[in-house]
Assembly symmetry: C2
Homo-oligomer: 460 residues x 2
């Protein structure tokens, strides 16, 4: 009874897969607030040119540099598990597989892109990276990459998380990164906010503004900014997850996957597993590909396709994506990584082309699923990942009802050992569901009045 | 440049190695307080007979049941890493390797014995296991094993840890175990203590008493007790670590290890890596084998070889071991897993036969080493493991001074993601060293006056 499928070092994928090359319609460019496209050159103060090239590339396959492969090999290829115990507990005829990304030293999939981003910056002569982080998953992954590659890393962490969730801050410090609460007195953006709202808990939007400001205002030109999701090159780097999975499934002669599931906040862990299979779907395969979001932040299931800013402070270009509006503040669910107002342009694009079937699930169902998973499969998943587990259980029970031997695959994007408080609150009955009324979303979207709109698209 | 060596499923060791078979002199039996040996039958209310047989076995090799192998395979074989980055940072000609046990879902080596212990109990018809835990590493490992194997698990957790270190308690609950603060009102031992000292912070000794009492007083006879270190069968189960390592070293043609290092509290992670190499040493190999302990709890470097109880409440048999006295209370260092008054009888025995070279290191040197390790190799180690890292750095620098290409191997017994507060205190300058004055130890050992003494032994 095979429970785990591994790959050898020499079986690691040598190239990343770029979905942009295979979509029917071309992607829309990011825009300035004036409605004019942002050219690659205009991004040069923020990102190194080698990453900007990846961001706009239309090549289907992009080589993974050998040194990056060696660094990824420290914890990759990650294991693919067959969930025999969960299947048995559900009494389902479905075969359930999960790819386990919690084996990285930072505990999630985030280092898959932190490592190449740090490496390309280093190649480009950059000495220091700035970034923002909410609960700290991305900040700690970039700190880890900075330690391995030899780059200074500075993380602006949303103040309320900095104060209330100190553990990932300690991880960053241990890896040698500087982590400071945002808003801070070290940037103009931070000082302006502090002058107006000295007691603000901070926000991702403010932290992004501070991180970008610090990057672009370094007089030596040796500082750049790094982002952990949403952008095309981040999706690209994560496709190693799905490419490995394909090889693992082939090893055990599992020829056809029927359902693919991943949780989606910015979209990168979902895209990482799913995009190589989206390619199969484009080529005719019958696969149900499901990105799962929390009902409290229904970007994919309730939000229109618009041009919106990536941050609340409107520092970023306008990006073509499904968005609840950059001012939308999701309820305080424990899956902090899924509390983002938009979803990656590439994921949005694939939704618009009818390639994905997004789903929203409530928090309580997700925790219930995660507890069942821990008590059968033995892994405590991150609150974000619990959304993928809940969707998987739904699909497995559907297969049971239909009496079908479906093959279901999901991405176990990270372990939950740093997020146990959510479980404790669940057991104590202190968590609740949130359904966002459409009016709240409509109100939030009014902020986009007067900004450019994307051309009407199918399913948009 | 090879950074990681893996093994395939079919390369997993099929047998555990029992050092007891190869020691020159026979081991001393555990004794009752009256000085009479404890027979296997007398242990039957506490442990299932199949584990008692392992505890007293003199067989060199003991088969690992196929089902246990399948469960261990969920995260094993664990990776063996070459520490290129640390070597480079130290400028040492030594080749440094580490076996990484933090890949288990509980984050340490503890599940290597929790799984077989739970399995043998289940085979024997047992329905429920009781145990004690301090900081919670062992309790969470047993909870994990109980979830996978289908046994009820009840953990008595030292009250002060239960209150101050809630995260491993939450892990246990998520895996379905019951975790209650000790002393509790549910046992006679607990009630007695609470009556005398209602505000006691608890102790491992009290928690052991409660766990054993609950096990032996189950009228159905379907409850047993499980211990996470010290005993012979625990050392046995952990040898899978060293046996895998030997195969991994052979794969990369590394023929001879010069120095082997592991941290030692009860002794099980050290024994797990080292015992298969102790066998080589007995057969003539020139290897320096170093168990490392904190200077604040110098069981191996300052304590005599005596008969002592395993717990402060004197519920256990008298065991032949190096001990600071069962009443010894170590200073509050962060490596909670190394704060034990004794060291496993088998490790004690190997010390007495001159096979090991124990070393004590202070807390601050250990944290400094752990930070260097995190910033070069990218893994944040547990505070216990930091002792092994510090000893490794000492040996690597010695090799540099001597200009020798030594091969150094250490056991990275667990990650530190649940123990980041220690790192934060280290950075804040709030930690200190502790040296235990000999007089304190001598005073503590007076508690053993009037109990049986072991016969005089070499090096004892």
């Amino acid at each position: 009874m095979q429970v785990k499928v591994m790959l050898e070092e020499n079986e690691m994928p040598r190239q990343w897969y770029n979905l942009a090359a295979d979509l029917k319609t071309p992607g829309l460019p990011p825009l300035g607030p004036d409605g004019n496209p942002i050219s690659p050159d205009m991004l040069a103060p923020v990102f190194p040119m080698n990453l900007i090239e990846q961001e706009v590339s239309q090549e289907r396959w992009i080589d993974i540099p050998e040194e990056v492969l060696q660094l990824l090999y420290r914890w990759r290829p990650s294991p693919l598990y067959r969930a025999h115990a969960l299947e048995k507990a559900l009494g389902t005829p479905a075969r359930i597989y999960y790819k386990y990304e919690g084996v990285s030293p930072a505990g999630s999939h985030k280092p898959n892109t932190a490592i190449p981003q740090a490496w390309y910056n280093k190649q480009f002569g950059i000495k220091k990276l700035t970034t923002e982080t909410g609960a700290g998953q991305w900040g700690s992954a970039l700190a880890f990459a900075g330690a391995l590659i030899g780059l200074e890393v500075k993380v602006y962490m949303v103040r309320i998380s900095f104060d209330q969730k100190p553990f990932r801050k300690m991880m960053m410090q241990t890896w040698g990164a500087t982590c400071i609460p945002s808003p801070s007195p070290y940037t103009q953006a931070g000082r302006d906010i502090l002058a107006r709202m000295p007691d603000t808990p901070g926000s991702l939007g403010i932290a992004i503004s501070e991180a970008i400001e610090e990057a672009v205002s370094d007089p030596t030109g040796q500082t750049r900014y790094a982002l952990g999701s949403v952008l095309n090159h981040v999706m690209l780097h994560q496709t190693i997850i799905g490419l490995e999975t394909k090889k693992q499934l082939a090893k055990i002669n599992e020829k056809k996957v029927d359902v693919i599931i991943g949780c989606a906040g910015g979209g990168s862990n979902f895209a990482g597993l799913a995009f190589p299979f989206v390619n199969d779907k484009i080529n005719g395969a019958n696969i149900d590909i499901i990105p799962v979001e929390p009902s409290s932040c229904p970007t994919m299931t309730k939000a229109p396709f618009v041009y919106d800013f990536g941050d609340t402070a409107k520092m970023t270009p306008l990006m073509p994506m499904h968005s609840l509006g950059h001012g939308y503040i999701p309820p305080p669910i424990h899956a902090g990584g899924l509390r983002y107002h938009g979803i990656a342009p590439l994921v949005s694009h694939a939704i618009n082309e009818g390639l994905l079937n997004p789903l929203a699930i409530q928090q309580l169902e997700c925790y219930e699923a995660a507890v069942k998973f821990a008590r059968t499969e033995g892994i405590i998943v991150a609150p974000e990942t619990s959304h993928a587990v809940a969707a998987t259980i739904r699909e497995a029970l559907k297969a049971k009802e239909e009496g079908k031997e479906k093959v279901i695959l999901f991405n176990l994007s990270g372990h939950g050992l740093m997020d146990l408080v959510g479980y404790e609150k669940f057991f104590a009955g202190e968590l609740q569901n949130y359904e966002m009324p459409l009016e709240v979303i409509q109100e939030s979207l009014k902020e986009l009045d007067g900004y450019p709109k994307p051309p009407a698209m199918t399913n948009a």
